[in-house]
């Protein structure tokens, strides 16, 4: 019996299995990401049907390109640094200390993640020109930085916080017993252990910042151009496809470089720790961290409060009329369907996108965490791992137009498929799912699987008794993440959503574009509904949370 089973268990690990497991997600990525992006960039390289690589390279010499590249790199780097500086203490406080309402706060922190940038931009501007006018940041790069930090703080808090929670406290305690000061313990024990999580979260934040579009335009007041806004201008206004192709390639290069750095600092294998730290009461020494957390929360809460107050006012009076109007089509027929229909549809699409992202993410995670026995296999695994991060780093305009120009004839005549929106959203959510599942899978000691096999379990049974019990909670947690990402996705969705089935962010954008105070109020109310929906979903996920979740 044993002789029959062991080779089977081994078979699940070979390069063939690796490819088989990854085949479906790779195919989906190839059709819905690689093909459209290559198709769109290819048009820039072949303007009249002939190859013209020189033309694209010439674009790279334009002074404007250097300007936007420099602006993108420095704002994204600065925003990532500020997000980490504010996010790390908050991660500590919200995951290691027993502060009141920490579940609610952690769920609320994810709300900015789904809010349409247009709406947040408006809220920020009202702050910067109203109560915070004395800061004199309106229309400066500082306003852009503030917006970027607002959107991304949650990524750091969640990813680093989760790693911190599962950190074995014993090495730190041992160091302290040997006489190390709290500062020394942090520097020599805690920080090195958290480094993978910090680098992982930092690179995701950097990608989000580098590809952010609405924040730069709304808060920078058009005076600043980033690579992303420049691609948008070149593609949608000037139809300068060569220029857009050159910038898209630059974007890809930056992303790939970043992924390489990230992959180096990520551990290949960590062991699940068996003594999870219990959160403890705050002490006096925690005051600085608590102060930073309060600062961060105030910073996130202010624009949200502005939004909420705006949505509850009609003609300067308190009223719920904006919310009641959500089941109408707005004044002067701004919408084709009521906003409530859009919310309903958003939720349904988010369910589909979440299921897709989970299925694909699970397959990717399983294949990249199988133990590699040769160097080639390990390298292949690394490439696969990085490949699925790419959708975060590519412009939604390039992808959106790419869908239109490549998926337009049989056998891939998918432009009108109702599945296109959920698939596009699933691709955006996929990196978040993979980054949550991979650490959990890596935490499983392979010897457990071997033990299961030697006790007579077949390969699938081994997965069922060893992997599944560890995985189901991270799975649910990443479902929440994917759900939120799908609910808030605007860039690619706005290209693909049809009028009869516009999602809520698309509807909010439409309402803002039509005159009439009621449409404006409805847009604010719809944003608040979107925010509340996300918060509720996140709270449910918080209830199901695992202590050891996720290195992004």
């Amino acid at each position: 019996m044993e002789r029959r089973h062991l080779p089977l268990g081994g078979r699940l690990r070979g390069p063939v299995t690796l490819l088989a497991l990854a085949a479906v997600p790779v195919a989906v990525l190839a059709v819905f990401f690689v093909l459209p992006v290559v198709g769109m960039v290819g048009r820039g390289f072949r303007p009249e049907g002939h190859w013209d690589v020189g033309g694209v390279l010439d674009v790279l010499a334009r002074p404007q390109v250097h300007r936007v590249l420099w602006f993108t790199v420095w704002t994204s780097t600065a925003a990532t640094a500020v997000t980490l500086v504010l996010g790390l203490p908050a991660a500590y406080v919200l995951h290691r200390l027993t502060v009141p309402l920490r579940r609610v706060v952690r769920a609320a922190l994810l709300v900015p993640f789904v809010l349409p940038t247009v709406v947040v931009g408006v809220a920020f501007r009202q702050l910067f020109t109203g109560p915070l006018a004395w800061l004199h940041v309106d229309g400066t790069p500082w306003a852009i930085l503030a917006g970027l930090v607002f959107f991304n703080a949650a990524v750091v808090v969640r990813a680093v916080g989760a790693a911190w929670e599962s950190l074995d406290p014993r090495p730190g305690e041992a160091a302290a017993a040997l006489g190390a000061s709290p500062g020394t313990v942090f520097r020599t024990v805690t920080l090195p252990a958290l480094r993978p999580a910090i680098v992982g979260a930092g690179s995701v934040v950097f990608l989000f910042c580098a590809t952010s579009f609405g924040v730069v335009l709304t808060l920078g007041g058009l005076r600043y151009a980033s690579v992303e806004t420049e691609i948008y201008l070149l593609t949608t206004n000037l139809l300068d496809l060569q220029g857009a192709a050159a910038l898209s390639l630059l974007q890809l290069l930056v992303v790939v470089a970043l992924l390489l750095i990230g992959a180096r600092s990520r551990p290949m294998r960590t062991s699940t720790q068996r003594a999870p730290a219990r959160p403890r009461r705050p002490r006096r020494g925690d005051l600085p961290q608590l102060a930073v957390t309060v600062l961060l929360l105030a910073f996130v809460a202010l624009p949200l409060a502005t939004l909420l107050i705006g949505s509850l006012q009609v003609d300067g009076h308190w009223s719920l009329a904006n919310y009641r109007a959500l089941d109408s089509t707005g004044s002067h027929q701004a919408l084709l369907e009521p906003a409530t229909t859009a919310l309903n549809l958003s939720l349904r699409i988010a369910v589909d996108a979440t299921l897709l992202a989970l299925t694909l993410g699970l397959l990717v995670a399983l294949s990249v965490t199988r133990r590699a026995r040769t160097r080639g296999e390990r390298r292949l695994r690394g490439i696969l791992d990085a490949l699925f991060m790419l959708p975060l780093g590519v412009s939604a305009v390039t992808l959106g137009f790419g869908f239109l120009v490549t998926l337009d004839r049989p056998p891939l005549d998918l432009r009108d498929s109702p599945w296109l929106v959920p698939i596009a959203q699933a691709l955006v959510a996929l990196p978040l799912v993979v980054r949550t599942l991979v650490p959990a899978l890596l935490g499983i000691d392979d010897r457990q699987r071997q033990a299961a096999a030697s006790l007579g379990a077949g390969p699938w049974r081994a997965v069922l008794v060893v992997d599944v019990p560890v995985l189901w909670r991270p799975l649910l947690a990443s479902a929440g993440f994917a759900f939120a990402a799908s609910l808030g996705e605007f860039g690619a969705t706005s290209f693909l959503a049809r009028d009869e089935n516009a999602t809520l962010p698309v509807v909010i954008y439409r309402l803002l574009g039509h005159p009439g105070a009621m449409n404006y109020g409805m847009a604010l109310a719809a944003s608040c509904v979107l925010a509340a929906t996300t918060a509720v979903v996140m709270l449910v996920v918080e209830r199901l949370r695992v202590p050891s979740l996720g290195v992004l």
Partner: protein, 366 residues
Amino acid sequence: MRLRALATIGVTVLLATTACSVSTKNDSGPDDTTSAPVPSGSTASAAPKIKDVVLVTHDSWSLPKKLVAQWEQQTGYHLVVRSNGDAGKLTNKLVLTQGNPDGDVSFGVDNTFATRALKANVFAPYTPASVPTGVSGYDVEGDGGQHLTPIDHSDVCVNVDTTWFAAHHLTPPTTLDDLTKPAYKNLFVTPGASTSSPGMAFLLATIAAYGDGWQSYWSKLMANGAEITDGWDQAYEVEFTQGGGKGKRPIVLSYDSDPAYTVKGGTTSTQALLDTCFTEVEYAGVLTGAKNVPGAKAFVEWLLSPQVQAALPRSMYVFPVVPGTPLPADWTRFAKQPTNPLTVSPAEIDANREKWLQQWSDVTSR
């Protein structure tokens, strides 16, 4: 623990019951009327009539549901609307999908983008059988209505909040020159030319008015504290004193029909400055490679019908192109149109757009 188990079951059930919701919606949805099968390669008139007419348009598209339903009933067609972005994004989408368009007919390419679309052969030749007199005056120069049929027009003008000026005992400005005067410092807001079509129209208005001197006009405008936003919504709703966000600037770039939307108690609180206007004309046309050519033609014809023309002001804030179309009462009273708007020819716009936008960015970036 129990709570968690319950929540887990709840989530699982939710996921299971709503799974594949898109496809189920599609199977039972009332508005999903698929086209009748078309025999491949057959172009004979005996081919069964395709039901769906797919309209590719911009975000501002809107007509009363009743009107559309009437048309669908009369003709037996079903209108499918695909709207996205502004006139620029729409035009580029049409150019990129030329030959294999994502629809049959398009509405919304305007005079600032018309030349680009015509040069790329986006539109098939078609002129409605009976074009009402007076409409051809809006034709694209050089096309003469052969591909593009004018549907509506509107003027992008500087608007002022008259109540604000009355309250501050200040005479409102009336000309483009006035906007650079110290009395109006920090009062003007406009959407940017690179990201907004009304913003682009305003840039064109200044180019028409000042010729080669437009850049120095813009430097004076910027020196006088003009604010530039990315979109019309930001300028109007957030910055303008009459917008939803109760902003701080009483002069905004918007449309000549706006005064009809700020009517309260029989008077309007805004006024369009008629010497600052640039006319935008919107066109419709049958797309090259359309699957449902008869449907597309019927749709263009319908857009010129008296009912649609009369509905345009209320639905899309634009003026009908057919002369003599009755306007809503508050429009005839408050929406004054310029008699002599500023113009730049479509061909000139197409040839210089990139250069002008680059120069504009240089002047407006500080």
